[in-house]
Amino acid sequence: MDQMTNAMLELADLDALSKLDSAVHRRHPLVKLLVTIAYIMIVVSFSKDQLSALIPMVLYPVLLFQLSGISMRVCFYKMRFILPLVCAVGIWNPILDRQVVMQLGALSISSGMISFVTLLLKGVFSLMASFLLIATTNIEQICYALSMLKIPDVLVTQLLITYRYISLLLKEAGTMMNAYSLRAPGQKGLHFSAWGSFVGQLLIRSMDRSQNLYQSMQMRGFTGSFYYARESRIQKTDIGYLLGWILFFLLLRYVNLSVLIGNLFV
């Protein structure tokens, strides 16, 4: 199977995950979006040396993976391309900041190492929370939640259409790639001399397709906003879910759970 088909299937997998039925899937999309935003904001608010306080924040994604019935392995597999970038963010910290702050037996832990791990965890936790949002909420529901937050229609519609047409773009790229490889026997990938025209052609095809799509939308009375998802009311359990998690995040933000647990054993 070619790479484009693989990419398309992975997108379809995500759609399939969002159609599962679980306590998390059933929550109102706006509530899930707000909890995710709150979680990410609180995670990134930890300073670079607050590693021990940050670690308990893992409880949210871990619990959600359990409640939603989604495997954590799937999450890390889907994030395999972005995780190295997250690691790269603080890669120089251990080298640039060598001030020893802790001694674990013979191992000296520097401040740079701690800040590197903290940055790494912040990135991983945020990605896990984002993954959980899209794996438990389909794109229409996310767009519906965004429109409830009064995000301009033009942005929400663009997000929706872009997501919907990624598969078509991949299909176009796949077709072009197949046509190229049939005329480039024995060659691995796309030769750099063809990159320019390949990207150019893909852009032209995308524009052509987007124009057709827009015409079709115009013909069906499109005036700038979409009907994203079936309207749903926020239930009491949704409010409980939202408040519960936010209080939990705030608790973890201001009380160092790791230290408390550690004190129990010292």
Partner: protein, 239 residues
């Protein structure tokens, strides 16, 4: 129903794709629009829907095709594009069919009724909640037709509806088209399908009307068709 008087269109003022065309289509007519590649068939359909601008006069259901009337004009026209993937932009068949009625402000119950009726008329009720990307070419084509039927148009415009369909789905499409009572204008190179679905044929050449008459008469005139780089339909070639 459709009245075009000296309408013209061109990206370049010097060289018009449609230099000046007049045409009259009456209610209930089933018209085939044929012609070689690049003769302006698709452009003419787009002019009717106001998707491209024009000079001259085009009236659809008594309304002039101009900016202030576009919403009303488009409500009475259902346009099936050549490429189904460009027409289906919602995640499922249901959402796609419901999109038009919702945009025109119909109530939930009306939308539901429109969707069910459109699905029934196209014979794809079983695909109601199917994801668009999981459908075959033939299913997508029928779903495209359902999306426009749900808007209850008075005129149906189609651009190459039988393209890329296998014989079974093509026959299914023809049968469905024949059951639709709406006025139809079908642009196609599939002359056999035009013969099966249309009473009247307009033969286009260089952006103008080269011939206009009963389908049987035009589609059996080998000389006329060859002058426009076309051939007799296959069913006549075999005889």
């Amino acid at each position: 129903m459709i009245k075009i008087e000296n309408a013209s269109f061109g990206y370049d003022k010097e060289k018009k794709i449609i230099p000046g065309l007049s045409l009259h289509i009456r209610e209930g007519e089933k018209v085939g629009l044929i012609g070689a590649n690049g003769t302006g068939k698709s452009t003419l359909l787009k002019m009717l829907t106001g998707l491209v601008g024009h000079e001259g006069s085009i009236k659809v259901c008594g309304l002039e095709v101009e900016k202030k009337n576009l919403a009303e004009v488009r409500k009475s026209l259902g346009f099936v594009l050549q490429d189904s993937d460009s027409q289906l932009f919602m995640p499922t068949v249901y959402d796609d069919i419901a999109c038009g009625p919702r945009n025109y402000g119909m109530s939930k119950e009306e939308v539901e009724a429109c969707v069910d009726e459109a699905l029934e008329r196209t014979g794809i009720s079983h695909l109601k909640y199917k994801e668009n990307y999981k459908m075959s070419g033939g299913e997508k084509r029928m779903a495209c037709i359902a999306t426009i039927l749900a808007m209850k148009p008075r005129i149906i415009l189609m651009d190459e509806p039988s393209i890329a369909l296998d014989p079974y789905n093509r026959r299914n499409l023809i049968n469905n088209l024949n059951e639709l009572p709406e006025t139809k204008l079908i642009a196609s190179h599939d002359l056999d399908m035009i013969l099966d679905t249309c009473d009247r044929v307009i033969l286009m050449n260089h952006g103008g009307i080269y011939a206009d008459g009963p389908a049987e008469e035009i589609l059996t005139n080998q000389q006329l068709l060859e002058e426009c780089h076309l051939e007799l339909p296959f069913c006549y070639q075999r005889r």
